[in-house]
C-alpha cells in the first residue's frame, strides 16, 4: 500500500507536507498552490489511499459509530441505517453493527465497543434491560449516545422518536372527517412504544369530543398473531350490537390481523369497517385492502441521530471524551398520514 512517505519522496517534499495537503484540515498551514498541485498529482498517480486506521490512532478519534439494534422491526432498522449512513458518509464516519438481538447485552459486546474506541453509538429498539445496561456503560465511558425509540427520558445522550401524538391525531382527524364516531384501538404490549400511542389515542379522541368504552381500547401483542386474533375476536364479541366503525391499530401487523378477523366475521372492508395501521411498512401496501397508515420517516430519524452524535463527538477532546453531556435532548420527527384503501365513510346505519 502506498503511504504518505512514498508520495512525499516522489514529489520531493516532506511527509508532513503531504499530510497537510491531503489531510483536509490544513487551515493551519499554508501550502503554495504549485506544491499542492504536485502532491495531489503524485498521490493520484501512485493511487494513494489514506489510512484511516493510522489516522484514528494518532488523533485518538475513531470516527466509528456503533449501531446496537434488534432484528424485530427489520425494515425500520434498514431505513434508519440508510439515513444514518448518509450523514455518516458526509462526515467521513463509519457505521458498525455491533449487536443484533432484542434481549440481553453481554460483556463481550460492551468490550467490543470500548476496544474499538467508539466515537458514538446509536441504539434502536432494544429491550429496556439491554437499554439500561448500555446506557450505563456509555455514560461511564463518556461515549455520546443517541436512542431512537420511545424510551423514558435518559440522562445521557439524545433521544429521537417519531411524533406519535401527532401521528395518532392525524389518524383520528382523518377518521372523523370521514364521519366516524365509533372508534376502537388495538395496540401492542405496554411499556415501550404502545403506551405512548394509547395515551395519544385517548387524547386525540377526547379532543374530538368522543370517548371509547374500555373494551374498545386493548393492549395486545406486536407480532404474535394468535394473541392479536384472540384480542380482536374478544373486542368484537364484547361489543355486542354496537360495533366500532373504525379500528385504529398501533402497528401494520396488528391491522393485518384485524382485517382478516373482520373479513372472517362477514364484514365488508372498508365499507363496514375502517382499519388503520401504523409505520407504513412494505407490508401495508400488500394488505387487502391496502392499509391507510402513518409514515414514520425512519430514514430521517437515522439522519438526525447520526448528525447529533457526530456533532457531540466532534466537540469532544482529542482523547475521545465527549465535551457536552447533552442531557435528555428529546427530538421528535414529524409523521405523515398515508391514505389508502382500508378507510372509508362508516356504513349509513
Amino acid at each position: 500500500m502506498v503511504t504518505m512517505g512514498d508520495v512525499a519522496a516522489r514529489a520531493g517534499v516532506s511527509q508532513a507536507t503531504v499530510s497537510f495537503v491531503l489531510g483536509g484540515s490544513s487551515d493551519r498551514l499554508k501550502i503554495s498552490a504549485q506544491t499542492r498541485e504536485r502532491v495531489l498529482a503524485v498521490a493520484r498517480e501512485l493511487g494513494y489511499q489514506r489510512n484511516q486506521i493510522a489516522r484514528a490512532m494518532v488523533t485518538g478519534k475513531s470516527r466509528i459509530i456503533g449501531v446496537l439494534t434488534a432484528p424485530q422491526a427489520s425494515e425500520n432498522i434498514i431505513n434508519i441505517l440508510a439515513g444514518a449512513m448518509e450523514t455518516a458518509n458526509e462526515n467521513e464516519y463509519l457505521l458498525k453493527v455491533l449487536h443484533l438481538s432484542y434481549d440481553s447485552i453481554d460483556d463481550a459486546t460492551i468490550a467490543r465497543c470500548l476496544e474499538w474506541r467508539l466515537a458514538s453509538a446509536l441504539i434502536v429498539g432494544l429491550s429496556e434491560e439491554a437499554h439500561a445496561r448500555l446506557h450505563e456503560a456509555f455514560r461511564a465511558n463518556r461515549i455520546p449516545l443517541a436512542v431512537i425509540d420511545n424510551v423514558p427520558p435518559t440522562e445521557w445522550g439524545v433521544r429521537i422518536r417519531s411524533d406519535d401524538e401527532e401521528g395518532i391525531a392525524q389518524v383520528i382527524s382523518h377518521l372523523t372527517a370521514l364521519g366516524h364516531r365509533q372508534i376502537a384501538y388495538i395496540g401492542g404490549r405496554p411499556g415501550l412504544l404502545s403506551g405512548w400511542r394509547e395515551a395519544s389515542f385517548r387524547t386525540a379522541l377526547a379532543a374530538a369530543g368522543m370517548v371509547a368504552p374500555p373494551h374498545w381500547i386493548r393492549q395486545s401483542s406486536w407480532g404474535d398473531q394468535r394473541i392479536i386474533e384472540a384480542d380482536v375476536q374478544a373486542m368484537f364479541q364484547q361489543s355486542g350490537d354496537t360495533l366500532p366503525t373504525a379500528v385504529v391499530c398501533s402497528a401494520d401487523t396488528i391491522a393485518m390481523v384485524v382485517l382478516r378477523v373482520a373479513r372472517a366475521r362477514g364484514l365488508r372492508l372498508p365499507a363496514d369497517l375502517s382499519v388503520t395501521g401504523y409505520s407504513n411498512g412494505s407490508l401495508s401496501g400488500f394488505a387487502d385492502p391496502p392499509l391507510t397508515t402513518v409514515d414514520q420517516s425512519f430514514t430521517e430519524m437515522g439522519r438526525v441521530a447520526a448528525a447529533h452524535v457526530i456533532a457531540i463527538a466532534e466537540r469532544g477532546d482529542a482523547r475521545g471524551n465527549a465535551g457536552d453531556t447533552v442531557d435528555g435532548l428529546d427530538i421528535r420527527i414529524p409523521t405523515r398520514l398515508i391514505e389508502r384503501g382500508s378507510t372509508a365513510p362508516p356504513p349509513p346505519g
Copy 2:
C-alpha cells in the same frame, strides 16, 4: 484510557510482557504463571481495554468486514447480518455497513473500503452493475469477497446462495402430493433471482411428468403491485375455462397479490386455488390464508459467508493481501418448506 504501558508500570513488568499476556497469541513466548496472573489482575483492576485500532495499525490487518447491500429485501438482510455478526464476533471481527442502495456504487464508497483497509467484504442483493464495479475493485485490491446472491459465477471471491432448485422442487412435490396437476408459475424480473427459479420450476415440473402452457409461466415484478396484479389477471383471463389449481410464486409479495386477485375473482382460498410464496418473510404469516412458503435461512448464509471471508483473510499475509484466490467457490444453503394454510388439495372438478 489505560494503556499497556500503564498496566506494565503498575505490575512492575515491561510493556512487551503485558502484550504477550494480553495479546492472546502468546504461544511464541513463555510467561510464568505468576507473572501472567499478576498482569491479568492489574489489567482488571485498572479496567484495561485493548486498543483494536493500534492493534490493527501495527499488524496491518483491520479485522473489519465491509457489508455492501441494498434496502430492498430488508428482512433478509437483517437476518444475513445477524448470522454474519455471530461469526464475526467469534473471530473478533467487525461488521461495517458501507453501502445501502441498490443502484450505482460511487467512487467515495470504493475509497472508504480502501481507506479503512477492509479485511474482506460481503455483498448482498446489489444490481449487476454495482456488482461488477465492486468485483473489479476488490479483485484489484485483493480484498476477499463473498457474494450472497444468485449472480453469475465470479472469478474472485465466494458465492453463496440458497438452493433454489431444491426449494422449488420441494414446493412442486408438496403440491403434487396434494393432488395438483395444473400448476402455474409467477416470478419476478428475469436476470437476477427469478431466472433461476423459473428454470427450477420447469425442471421440477417436467420431473413430475407435467408441462405448463406458456401463459401459465410469467415473469412479472418483485414489488410493483400494479404490474403483478395485471399479470395475474392476464393469466386468469388467458386460462379460459381450465384454470390452474395451484400457483407457485417466486416471492411472498407476489403470492400476496395472487391471493388478493383470486379472492376478488370469487375463488375460495385455498379450496379453489393453492398458492405458494418464497422466502418465508414475516409477511407470509400475516397473509390470509397464511402462506405456504420456502424458508431460505438467511442467517445461515450470513454465517457461512462471514466464515469464508474471515478464513481467506486470515490466510493472507501481514499487509492484508489475500493468500488464495478461491476462484468461483459456490456454496448452496439448503431450503425448507414451511407448510401453512394457503395450500390444500385441488377442487374435485
